[in-house]
Symmetry: C2
Subunit: 184 residues, 2 copies
Amino acid sequence: MSASFAAVDSPHRLITPGPVLLVSVGDGSDDNVFSVAWSMALRKAPPMVAILSGKGHYSWDLMESTGEFGLSVPDASLAEAVLYCGRYSGRDVPDKFSAAGLTRAPARIIAAPLVQEAVGHLECRICHVVDMGYSSLLVASVVFAEAREDCFTEGSWDFSGGLRLIHHLGGDRFSVSSGVLGAD
Amino acid sequence: MSASFAAVDSPHRLITPGPVLLVSVGDGSDDNVFSVAWSMALRKAPPMVAILSGKGHYSWDLMESTGEFGLSVPDASLAEAVLYCGRYSGRDVPDKFSAAGLTRAPARIIAAPLVQEAVGHLECRICHVVDMGYSSLLVASVVFAEAREDCFTEGSWDFSGGLRLIHHLGGDRFSVSSGVLGAD
């Protein structure tokens, strides 16, 4: 029943197309998950990424104390869960993974759990924080990355099996990418 | 023949879905245009964005001397031009706009030209630079933004007229977003 994942040696490729992401944090006893539309790859090797996070987020303290976060790439089947994770705070929901219908998957290196239902995972360690006022830009090293074997082939997302990635338009709306330009 | 643009008061919405972007630089006498797959919105109000740029780029000196750059959002019809702008340096191409088949459109506030054929424009002033080694993360204020009226309505990209945004997968491949989740 569980999908098969393979390690990815070009983690930037997982987020370069700009899909919305689920960010997970945890220290082994407490955890949380939230969604971000604002993220980017920063370096291929050694791989680095950045996300923006509000300092008032329930997850902030866990990110600060662990220095880590996980990124999970949802496909279109998780759109409702992504909206739930963006709408409700872990402060008000005791078990946000379960409340959002998401399953914790253990990470290889970081303490935070990942989202099992996602099609890609990146394990990240924060190495630089850019103060943006209410929020901070978290620059992080990717210490491990993997993707579902049926969705990511030859270093690139593979839409031939029906993969649909979602891109945040605003509010509760996403655009969907499901094909490659120049191919059917 | 020329498309009609309207000012946008939520510039972050133009790039939140993660499309590939064309970056233009210029000081009124010299100019250049290149493509970036790595960018993100950073703040809604006042609007801020970030892009990654290599320090060895031909455009680097113009960005440094002017402190400005333009962002143009291409649709799928510009995919070849985007690839051209990513493949060739302005160092080797005297007039990269023309060579890529792109038309300069005057910006409202910055000196750099914008790409007329694009569906959205953001005029940016660099306010913070994060050193990343070979490259730098350029954090910038958006001083003006506009989008084509038939492609961006009620503060969001509007795919009902056939708009297709392109997202970089790697190499010369893009995924295409052309619809909204939950709508046809």
